[in-house]
Symmetry: C2
Subunit: 395 residues, 2 copies
């Protein structure tokens, strides 16, 4: 099977024309927007042109189905409100090109999908979440976007019937990394070993609000100082349990009353951590809770934890991963790595239905969810070739 | 001269009746409010009853003037929108009682003042700031409150002419501490050596906003982490230059974009520090700037400092202070201390016109600017006696 890099790039640029923004390579193609629906219409035509039977499911996810059981390749073609041209689109067009090439070569056929609302206008990876059984369809229909529009109302052009997952032997998704690792290492390909799990909770230190002029340092119970001490102690303690791929973030902080002249009496902040290993996530939780308790006790604070939200890590299928790795080593010898995905993808949901594998290409500067998102065309084509090579190995 | 504690407390409770809130001992008597103007009318009657000539200046500050040159005693009778019954009121009524007692004893006469808008409905210590020459009257008239009402419009009942500062030999202000030091130490009186100076600026660390899942820890330029590291390093370094009375506060923090799943690219925060010694304030500024520069450089941040706002420390007059100390040692031997005022007071402005001295009584729990503000009546009367003893020594 030989993929055609020029045809692939031409389709990728054509898809970018739907919702193309005036700025650089930017795209504005949120789920069910006019641009998204037009792009899906064009995509359905290209699928049909590749000899695939088009079926749009009740969420609006567009499938291009080959006859009989097959691999499913794809991603999503909706974008962030201010998104880049490759996030999602790359995996869909790469799938399309591999399906075309397989047909031309008389190789076992391949099916293609563009899931709907991966970018979460309504939920989180909404289309694949419903298909994969992580979200009930009737619950999804009641989700609303920021403007209060319900998904049930926005769902223009959606079909009547679901695609049976039993049609597929496995799912492969090619995606930009959306992080800086491959770009910084000057590597061409990442084969994903797991989509990391996420833990996220809000923590509150409550001390004593005081006048910032009349309250001596020794008598303060300053909630910002508690947060800072917690953060430093946590960074120190986590070093013993983490890997270079583990991440943790305090991204949101709210002090009360948040004034220059008042010792803050309350600090509410977000604590999020991600790792591919559920046991490590659990050990980190223990350290986070223990450190917060110790800081609170030492500083006379009351402490409360919000509800902990969690998404479990999703391990990639060893067989699909081996095929991707063998193909990567052939196409980009010494220039690929095994790595976790720190971001969620449609593959997270599809993993409930079948074996899944994922492949990354570099994101220049690690930039994504931004008009400036980009990848060199040579790297896009190299990724396509690794994907095609893996499909050939699995045939 | 013998002050009458019961008469003093009765007047203090009577003043509390103006704008008394439904909650505990709370008072709502902002400058020029109906309750404030009624209180000032009542105060003028009490001053006249004490044989003083009442003059209201163009800011609405109410003076009770004795004949000839005299000491001036007082504070302010306006309150915070949700204030306590003692903040300001105590110093005014103590001055009134000492003036009465001086007249009854045939001692040298004493004048009294209640400055207007110390609590800053329009500015900061607005009435005394204009009288002391720290704020031009025409500029003050253009100040507006939170509702957009101009001081020129709100200034009901203000007089036509200014009171000549040359009438006065010095100014003594008795006030609640508004901090926890005396209460925690179970002491009765604080003699102020200086009203501390304030430095205040906004600092910004700008790093790189990133996806909190796909950006490895080692490649992050996280602005919150820079803030936390700065805070810890600063606390450590300041220990070498501060005294137990020095304070510094980070009371306001704003992260951008302030989301759980995004590595914060920007942290904007307030840095305020106070001390009675201008040289120490300057050394602290050097350490703050240097620490911020080092953290920014080590973490690849850009750094910017906002305009530094500064109020200079105001030293109390040695002669007035000595009189207060001698009186404190007589009335409350071993139960008083010399201490700085961490809060601003009208005395800050009056110090531009004449020698000033200040006296603190305990604030229970250090609470002020709150309905719960309180001081034991025995401590109020003891403070009054110390004030009267100092006036007698200065006669």
């Amino acid at each position: 099977m030989r993929v055609d890099g020029d045809r692939f790039l031409a389709d990728l640029h054509a898809l970018r024309g739907f919702g193309a923004s005036g700025v650089g390579r930017g795209v504005a193609r949120p789920a069910y927007s006019e641009a998204d629906l037009a792009a899906r219409g064009w995509l359905a035509e290209r699928m049909a042109g590749a000899g695939l039977e088009v079926q749009v499911d009740p969420m609006g996810s567009v499938f291009g189905l080959s006859e009989g059981r097959s691999l499913l390749l794809g991603s999503h073609s909706d974008s962030q409100p201010e998104g880049g041209w490759l996030d999602g689109a790359l995996g869909v067009i790469a799938g399309l090109e591999v399906a075309r090439a397989a047909r031309e070569a008389g190789a076992p056929p391949v099916s293609v999908v563009s899931f709907q609302d991966e970018e979460g206008r309504f939920g989180v990876t909404t289309g694949s979440a419903v298909w994969g059984g992580n979200l009930r369809f009737d619950a999804a229909l009641e989700l609303t976007d920021r403007d209060g529009i319900a998904l049930a109302e926005a769902r223009v052009g959606a079909g009547e019937s679901w695609v049976a997952p039993e049609r597929f032997t496995g799912y492969l998704e090619m995606h930009i990394e959306q992080g800086p690792v491959l770009d910084q290492a000057q590597e061409a390909v990442g084969v994903v070993d797991a989509i990391v799990g996420i833990r996220d909770m809000t923590i509150t230190f409550e001390g004593q609000q005081n006048h910032a002029g009349t309250t001596p340092m020794a008598l303060r119970r300053d909630a910002f100082q508690a947060l800072s001490a917690f953060n430093e102690a946590l960074n120190d303690r986590l070093r013993n349990v983490v890997t270079p791929a583990t991440v943790w973030t305090i991204g949101h902080v709210r002090l009360h009353p948040d004034a220059h002249s008042i010792v803050p009496g309350r600090a509410v902040f977000s604590m999020q951590w991600r790792d591919g290993d559920p046991e490590r996530l659990r050990r980190m939780e223990g350290i986070i809770r223990e450190t917060a308790h110790q800081v609170a006790e030492a500083r006379g604070m009351s402490l409360s934890f919000g509800e902990m939200l969690g998404l479990e890590p999703v391990a990639m299928d060893p067989g699909l991963r081996a095929a991707l790795e063998a193909s990567a080593e052939e196409i980009a010898p010494g220039r690929w790595r095994r790595m976790p995905s720190g971001a969620l993808h449609d593959a997270t949901n599809v993993a409930r239905l079948m074996p899944v594998g994922m492949l990354f290409v570099p994101s220049i500067g690690g930039i994504s969810h931004d008009f400036a998102e980009h990848t060199e065309e040579a790297d896009l084509v190299r990724g396509l070739e690794v994907l095609a090579g893996a499909v050939a190995r699995l045939a």
